[in-house]
């Protein structure tokens, strides 16, 4: 059997990670002992939240430790098992980490069916990003039919699903994304009512144009100037869902707080944070609904798949440069 390749956190980055943040090592693969299962990892999920896990600060999850395998969700195939729940040939999802093989007691893993959807989709629309979108817009955002909805990071794994769910609920949806190609994709392929190119458009002016009566729900993946622009255009009783702040994750200076936060007062609005894990007990129900929408052609899923665990670092940076389309996934094992 081949050796395992594992990507460790070598050094906590300041600002944007560089190649020295990580270290790729080779190690032996052990066979499963009683209760254990050996998984060959196929695809690893790359998400903006991973940047936060590198910081040694209090958050919703402990930081990754130095010399620990980098944390990541992944899908793979059971190749040896001493655990009655999993048998050889099963496909599973879990926190595999960035490595080619993982030996685990199976806790936190669940089976997935590659005949229903391609494996990478279980990392995107049918995985954490999809769940985040589903509970974020429907529960935290308290979406109502006919709401006007703005979503940032709209071409990403979470934002693209948020916008499509809002369209399914008969809302007016505008997405913010970087570049003409992504904006065209949002409108032409995903059915958004409009798109704002943050690299080229006057964001404030465009928001004003698209929301003459204000924004009912703003789903924020990016923070920074865009959050402030949205705050400046809230409808009464608007809801802002704070899902992330990609624009701030690699800051070497303090996070930029939203200077327009007093709009919350003027508009009797709320700004609410969310972490998807809180909805774990309802993942099944949500995945079923999402699967149905996909089958009906109402919900489109797009994965951007790169190859090779050696290319983890370059691929990871695409999250922040925006050079990707849809859910960013890394294939870490050859077929």
């Amino acid at each position: 059997m081949a050796q395992n390749k594992q990507l460790l956190l070598q050094k906590r980055p300041v600002g944007l990670p560089d190649a020295s943040t990580w270290k790729l090592i080779k190690s032996e693969i052990s066979q499963p002992e009683d209760g254990e299962v050996l998984i060959q990892c196929e695809y690893i999920s790359l998400d903006p939240a991973m940047r936060g896990w590198l910081n040694d600060t209090r958050s919703y999850i402990p930081p990754v430790k130095i010399n620990e395998v980098m944390r990541a969700g992944g899908v793979g195939k059971v190749i040896a098992s001493n655990n009655p729940i999993f048998k050889v040939g099963d496909y599973v999802y879990g926190q595999t980490g960035v490595q080619q093989y993982v030996l685990t007691d199976g806790k936190g893993y669940h089976k997935i069916d590659p005949t229903i959807a391609p494996l990478p989709m279980y990392l995107g629309t049918l995985g954490m990003p999809g769940m985040t979108a589903y509970f974020g817009i429907l529960e935290v955002g308290e979406l109502k039919e006919g709401d006007t909805v703005l979503v940032s990071g709209a071409a990403g794994a979470v934002g693209s699903v948020v916008g499509q769910i809002a369209k399914i609920k008969n809302c007016k949806v505008i997405g913010i994304a970087g570049g003409a190609e992504k904006c065209k994709y949002l409108v032409d392929k995903l059915g958004f009512d409009g798109a704002i190119d943050y690299k080229d458009d006057d964001i404030k002016a465009k928001i004003k144009e698209y929301f003459p009566k204000g924004i009912d729900v703003y789903f924020d993946n990016v923070g920074g100037e865009i959050l402030d622009a949205a705050l400046g255009r809230l409808a009464m009783h608007a809801r802002i869902v704070i899902c992330g702040a990609i624009s701030q994750y690699n800051n070497t200076t303090a996070v930029k707080g939203p200077a327009n936060y007093l709009s919350l007062l003027v508009s009797r609005a709320s700004m609410k944070g969310m972490v998807v894990f809180d909805y774990a007990k309802d993942y099944g129900k949500a995945a079923q609904q999402m699967g149905q929408w996909i089958k009906q052609g109402k919900l489109k899923s797009k994965e951007d798949v790169y190859e090779g665990i050696e290319n983890f670092h370059e691929t990871f940076l695409r999250l922040f440069s925006g050079e990707k389309m849809g859910k960013l996934v890394l294939k870490v094992n050859e077929d």
Copy 2:
């Protein structure tokens, strides 16, 4: 009959208002025509929100116009009436503006009883600040028995009532105020569990000490650094009530946004704005409850009364210098 003295907005201030912001004029007093009522104003309410009304920006209420009488809540006595609802000798509350006499059609005015509580209390605990505190902490803050509560501007008209209501609801309450005298007042007279002197204490360290398990409800009257310190110490599912931002009202630069707002995500917390007018239909119910608490000695009301419409400007500045204790009120007519 005497002439009327009226305080007009002469010029929009940049930063802290100076004496040239206002102009005191004398004018004739007209007798009420059909449906009108003439009120002799006794006490005028001075509130931090008035600073916002001077800015020519979109807000929850239109700005005061140049050469218009400065907007203010007030209490006074009906001295002539051609309106069947009000008779001579009635005491009333309404948006009198900063002047000694007001001629009005009576819309937005309601009668008050000076034998139940002294007139200035109808501008504080039994007026808008009291209503703001009541609905802000109970409805917007969704206060629950046993919550840990932090309130800023705690010795002010709103904050002091917020803290006392939270004590009535068996919560642990810590107030933030400026100066040892105010802090002592919060603990010794109002029964707060502790106080933080923002002029002298290490605010962050004190908050950590008082809230080992985090803050359940933060009632924010001040914004700025204190809001950030509170955000840094939230309990899970915490609620932040945005009532005002005294520290930012006189800014000549941009408002300082809360850099720690991503704590909302980590703590699954919410930050919600409020404007008291939204609760107008329930003022009666709230005033009755507050009156009962006052009678039972559970709720103490403190008014800081200054005299003379000529002293409006100097008195107004006390809102921002903190040189006042409790509800700031100006007596504008002699007995």
